[in-house]
């Protein structure tokens, strides 16, 4: 039996990220065990819910290594929880694959730490690339004050110059705010703004989108990968969401992928299984957990051993592994293993996603 550990935010403010993550992990472990396990041994998943509290996450991480004696940890739904798990993983020398966005997690590279989602910096780059293509040079930014929003905001500010983009208006909102029209009014009133970028997850972006349409801002609206789920269109309302662009993963547009697309079979398989099992739509976030577990299982298989050190080395040499986010190839100086091409630029048209590249 191989014990792997996970601590995700299945409840609390990031629960709509953590919940599909938890369900995905449980589902996949069941699947893998049904298919004979790894190296002939069954997997045992020890799963904790840290409620989004970094302090709790750290305690559970300690529990996973000290008490449950797992060989690897998946988890850290948010950057905050991830950052507080990292010292535990590093101290006790257990490989750790994070599901959070911020680039700090893997930059600088930490020996025992990996992650699956694109970094927030990559999301900014992807968006700015698209803006550049559309000759947009001056934008307004509105971001959530939560960890994800703040971190992405910081990265976007840092790379905007690379794309010749000026951030002319900069606003924020709280995670649970009910109305963002004042902020959007200010952005709308800023001279020369050609597009608006919203960095955030949760209900905020839906409300931003609705307010955006209410105010008839009329400029292209870019959202982040933090809202990449079908639920977003439903929550924002198809009419308001029309024309919203964002960098997303293949998972979201599984049906639209070209038949030759290497990711097609993987995402379709996951999507079908998840939706059958849980009765709810797949989300990008569950996909992050999917990829993390796949990477881990693949590595344990290649390592032929369940020793943490061996697993870590194997993770670092992951190559060409097809996941929902993209095709992962890790290196000693790249513990993410994805590039911008793994992101797809999506636009909402007629209430559904389309690939615009």
């Amino acid at each position: 039996e191989i014990k792997i550990g996970a601590t995700v935010s299945a409840t609390g403010p990031a629960s709509f990220l953590g919940d599909p993550e938890a369900k995905t992990l449980e589902m996949l472990v069941e699947e893998i065990n049904a298919a004979g396990g790894v190296n002939g041994e069954p997997l045992k998943l020890v799963l904790y819910d840290d409620g989004g509290d970094p302090n709790k996450a750290r305690t559970f991480a300690t529990r996973l290594v000290e008490d449950d004696e797992v060989v690897a940890i998946i988890g850290g739904t948010t950057t905050g929880t991830t950052m507080s798990i990292i010292p535990v993983a590093e101290d006790s020398e257990v490989p750790f694959i994070s599901l959070a966005g911020a680039i700090e997690i893997i930059d600088p590279v930490k020996h025992w730490v990996f992650k699956t989602p694109h970094t927030d910096r990559m999301a900014c780059q992807k968006i700015f690339e698209n803006m550049k293509k559309n000759a947009i040079t001056k934008i307004g930014v509105i971001s959530g004050t939560d960890g994800f929003g703040a971190s992405m905001h910081k990265q976007c500010v840092a790379v905007a110059g690379d794309y010749g983009i000026e951030i002319a208006a900069d606003e924020t909102y709280g995670l649970q705010d009910a109305d963002m029209t004042p902020q959007l009014t200010n952005i709308k009133g800023t001279a020369g703004v050609q597009a608006v970028l919203n960095a955030g997850f949760g209900q905020g972006p839906s409300i931003v989108t609705r307010n955006y349409s209410q105010l008839a801002v009329g400029l292209p609206l870019y959202q982040s990968h933090g809202v990449a789920s079908d639920g977003f269109i439903e929550l924002a309302g198809a009419k308001a969401a029309e024309g919203v662009r964002l960098p997303g993963t293949a998972l979201l547009v599984a049906g639209l992928l070209a038949d030759g697309d290497p990711q097609k079979s993987v995402v379709m398989a996951y999507k079908t299984a998840y939706e059958k099992k849980t009765g709810s739509a797949v989300s990008t976030f569950g996909g992050y957990a999917h990829d993390a577990l796949r990477i881990l299982v693949d590595s344990i298989g290649r390592a032929g051993s369940a020793e943490p050190e061996a697993i870590r080395d194997a993770i670092e040499s992951t190559s060409g592994l097809v996941g929902t986010t993209g095709v992962v190839t890790m290196k000693a100086d790249d513990h993410l293993g994805l590039d911008l091409s793994a992101f797809r630029m999506l636009e909402i048209k007629n209430g559904g996603w389309t690939i615009i590249e």
Partner: protein, 319 residues
């Protein structure tokens, strides 16, 4: 007198528990839980003094924990202070801020005080998460190592990190409990409890009510601050959640659950709310349901808080 006083008994029980339970720990993880319990206990002792003794409700005490925690994180980096002194600086800063904030808000009573202190706590956590250039923002910031463990190691007392923090925080809790117990039965403690009963009567016997409330507020802020520092130092990483209102409410809940007026009771309360999530994880998605249920049941059946109610059952009178 041959008989131990309540104070001595409480301290003895506490010291024995801290020293003896590690013998029953199946793994190092339990040291971690223990040390968290003690960290929470220290903050809750502050609530005991403020709420249990003086009857003033604060829903913003996590703000002071935040100040202590971030002082420990930032002072070593920006001022070059040793983390230990950074923690002391945090305590001093908390005391100073409590003094400044306490003056206006302690004129308020009951829920009005609660909401004012809540506002203060939210202010602190907002600054911590918005001023990312200094604090690292909502995703937190790394904290330097205290270094005491290594120093002890050099002296021949080798402890693992969880062990070290268990005993170190345990010691801090013991000191905190000693201070709180001293206070309880002292002139100041009596005056605090008196103004809890009737502010007017207290002032007619010469209690400077405003000043005394402020003293209690400052003392309890220092307890919270130290607790925040201990948390930051042992986690080596801290996020603004430490200052969040959920944490404030949690602290008050711990105190009331165990018995806000009783030192040992409140520590017990801290213990329950610290251990419960660990125990309840076995219920997986039922965890929240169980947690809520336990809280309600305790308060329904032990309405004055665990310890005082149990003592009343056994001895026929309160603690």
């Amino acid at each position: 007198m041959m008989r131990l006083t309540t104070k001595q008994t409480t301290l003895l029980v506490l010291a024995l528990l801290i020293a003896a339970t590690p013998f029953f720990f199946p793994s190092a993880f339990y040291f971690r839980v223990g040390s968290l319990l003690f960290v929470n206990g220290v903050a809750v002792l502050g609530i005991v003094i403020l709420t249990g003794f003086a009857g003033q409700i604060s829903l913003g005490h996590a703000g002071f924990a935040g100040i202590g925690a971030y002082a420990s994180a930032l002072a070593p980096v920006h001022l070059g202070l040793h983390p230990a002194f950074a923690a002391l600086l945090g305590a001093a800063l908390s005391a100073a801020i409590a003094y400044g904030v306490g003056r206006p808000i302690l004129r308020l009573k009951g829920y009005y005080l609660a909401v004012a202190s809540l506002g203060f706590g939210i202010l602190v956590s907002m600054v911590l998460s918005n001023e990312a250039w200094l604090t690292g923002g909502p995703d937190g910031i790394a904290v330097a190592d205290l270094g005491l463990r290594q120093a002890l190691g050099a002296l021949g007392l080798k402890l693992s990190a969880p062990e070290f923090w268990y005993f170190f925080c345990g010691l801090c809790l013991l000191i905190g409990a000693w201070l709180a117990l001293n206070l309880y039965d002292s002139p100041t403690g009596r005056a605090l409890r008196a103004l809890h009963g009737s502010e007017i009567a207290a002032s007619t016997v010469g209690v400077d009510v405003a000043r005394l409330k402020l003293q209690a507020f400052v003392i309890s802020a220092v307890f919270a601050s130290v607790s925040g520092s201990l948390l930051a130092l042992q986690n080596k990483f801290i996020t603004p959640d430490v200052a969040g209102y959920m944490h404030s409410i949690e602290l008050v809940t711990m105190a009331v659950l165990g018995g806000a007026g009783s030192v040992l009771g409140a520590i017990l309360g801290a213990g329950i709310l610290t251990l419960l999530p660990q125990v309840l994880t076995v219920f997986a998605e039922y965890e929240q349901v169980m947690l809520g249920l336990v809280m309600m049941l305790v308060m329904i059946f032990l309405r004055e808080g665990l310890l005082p109610s149990l003592l009343r059952q056994f001895t026929g009178r309160g603690a």
